[in-house]
């Protein structure tokens, strides 16, 4: 099993990197974890444009001149956890709601109408409200309409992931939030999510269940993003070695204002985020890299083709948000890119890229 990295040691490894290490990483044919440490170290900052160029070439080689599009459906904002940074935290006084199967289907129909073939079902962690039976029922209903269905819910067992895969779920996203065990305990104040190790081992359970894809990630802004990035790289490499037939994606949610007003503990600039994205692309040319609507339109447009492979678009982060007039009531975080999917698609096309809504079909599964 992937063991928790020693966060302090990661910081030290990165801190020791020099510009010579960066140059070596940039001239190497393939990058190992020492090269990744160099690429996301302060010593690599002057090389950012060179890294960007290298990252863009690798991304085009592996993924073509395309950007995949997806949209989230927030099923429920009930949550039994108290996470200091999250708008859904159990102690936050917000309107709670869990969509019925019909309501979820209505939300999905709106997204389908807008051209989406890939949806991400998101829910707060409340096993009694959003359990595996509920998720299975929704997947079965939505499967005929969508080529890919991802979920981002509480960690489940391998057997449950197998059931959901059979029902049409193709991918699971489960972010560690932070690989720093000390910080993890500081921000996860109550609920099942306090269990660092159970969460850390979740991506392996997802892959062991035969899911097509597993998404990992870290919530940037809690602690040293560089060490977080190296931990992500190690986790990614471990998953590759142990589950070669499951694809891996990495997400980079940067803390944004939420109800409960949690300010980032360590600010992460766009410069920093870009360095991390380019570094991970050089480290693993095949990994899918996600950039959500947490980021602003200007930044997302600028990053098109430079490393990220998948964008969300036209997102609403509150349950029932697509069908309701007020899309911000009870949302998890406020979005930074408010554009519609048509507008995002036009921006992608303007860069000479194809917006892609489908890269999988359930027929491949049988």
């Amino acid at each position: 099993m992937f063991s928790a990295p020693d966060f302090q040691q990661l910081r030290q490894t990165i801190g020791r990197c020099t510009s010579a290490d960066v140059e070596q990483a940039l001239s190497a044919g393939t990058c190992d974890s020492n090269d990744l440490a160099a690429l996301i170290s302060p010593a690599a900052e002057p090389y950012l444009p060179v890294m960007a160029r290298r990252s863009a070439l690798l991304t085009a080689q592996r993924f073509g001149r395309t950007t995949q599009l997806y949209a989230p459906i927030y099923l429920s904002n009930y949550c039994t956890n108290r996470c200091a940074y999250c708008g859904f935290a159990v102690n936050n006084k917000i309107t709670r709601r869990c969509l019925t199967l019909d309501e979820a289907e209505a939300e999905a129909a709106i997204l389908h109408e807008r051209g989406f073939q890939h949806i991400l079902l998101v829910a707060g962690e409340a096993e009694k409200i959003v359990g595996v039976n509920y998720l299975e029922a929704i997947a079965l209903r939505l499967r005929p309409k969508f080529a890919a269905i991802s979920i981002e819910v509480q960690p489940l067992s391998t057997a449950h992931y197998q059931r959901l895969f059979q029902a049409g779920v193709t991918a699971v996203a489960v972010y560690q939030e932070t690989y720093d065990q000390e910080m993890y305990q500081q921000v996860h104040l109550a609920g099942n999510k306090k269990d660092y190790h159970f969460r850390l081992e979740t991506p392996a359970r997802v892959a062991a269940a035969g899911m097509r894809e597993v998404g990992i990630g870290a919530l940037l802004g809690l602690t040293d993003w560089r060490a977080e990035g190296l931990a992500l790289g190690l986790h990614l490499a471990w998953l590759r070695k142990n589950f070669w037939s499951t694809a891996v994606t990495v997400s980079f949610p940067r803390l944004r204002p939420a109800t409960g007003a949690f300010a980032p503990l360590v600010p992460v600039s766009e410069q920093n985020l870009s360095q991390l994205i380019f570094g991970l692309r050089l480290f693993d040319p095949d990994v899918g890299l996600l950039l959500s609507t947490r980021e602003e339109a200007r930044y997302r447009d600028g990053m098109l083709g430079l490393g990220p492979t998948r964008y969300s678009a036209g997102s609403c982060t509150a349950p029932g948000g697509y069908s309701s007039a007020d899309q911000t009531e009870g949302e998890q975080f406020s979005v930074g890119d408010q554009r519609t999917v048509e507008e995002v698609s036009l921006a992608i096309a303007a860069k000479g890229f194809d917006p892609v809504s489908k890269d999988w079909d359930s027929a491949f599964q049988h």
């Binding site: 140059e23 060179v50 960007a52």
Partner: protein, 151 residues
């Protein structure tokens, strides 16, 4: 495929299985999945002394494997063994080249030295190869992306 079936069967029967195989990266992963203790991709046809003609595939096998990779077959000269070790192989298996040598003992010693040299070079970290000459400051003048959009 027969190698895969045989490995699965033998592992189930309690054997430690070290399958000799074509240098196929996916087959190597599948052998690993069914419990092979190592994979032994061929460098070239057995007994041919042609050296490592499957280097590209073997490099991929080595990068992906979590079990030892032993390059077997085709290794006809100490330099071939050194190359396999420089690529990161865990071991090489040599028979014909030593057994048919004029002085097998001396040849075995030569192979041992080559294996040691190759392993030391791999651990030391090999520089990457290029078809073109590189200036001593390799990144000067490298094409760079415009990041003017960053706030």
């Amino acid at each position: 495929m027969e190698t895969l079936k045989a490995t699965e069967e033998l592992v189930r029967a309690g054997f430690i299985v070290l399958p000799y195989m074509n240098a196929d990266p996916i087959l190597a992963l599948r052998l690993q999945d069914v419990g092979a203790a190592a994979v032994m991709p061929l460098g070239s046809p057995i007994g041919s002394n042609q050296g490592i003609l499957t280097a590209f595939q073997i490099e991929i096998i080595i990068a992906q494997a979590r079990i030892p990779v032993v390059v077997d077959a085709g290794i006809g000269a100490p330099s071939h063994a050194a190359l396999a070790m420089e690529m990161g192989a865990d071991a090489v298996l040599v028979n014909t080249a030593i057994s048919v040598a004029g002085d097998p003992v001396a040849m075995a010693r030569a192979f041992a030295q080559a294996v040691e040299a190759g392993r030391t070079a791999f651990v030391a970290g090999m520089g990457s190869r290029s078809k073109q000459a590189h200036a001593s400051s390799p990144l000067e003048g490298t094409l760079a992306a415009d990041l003017g959009f960053l706030s």
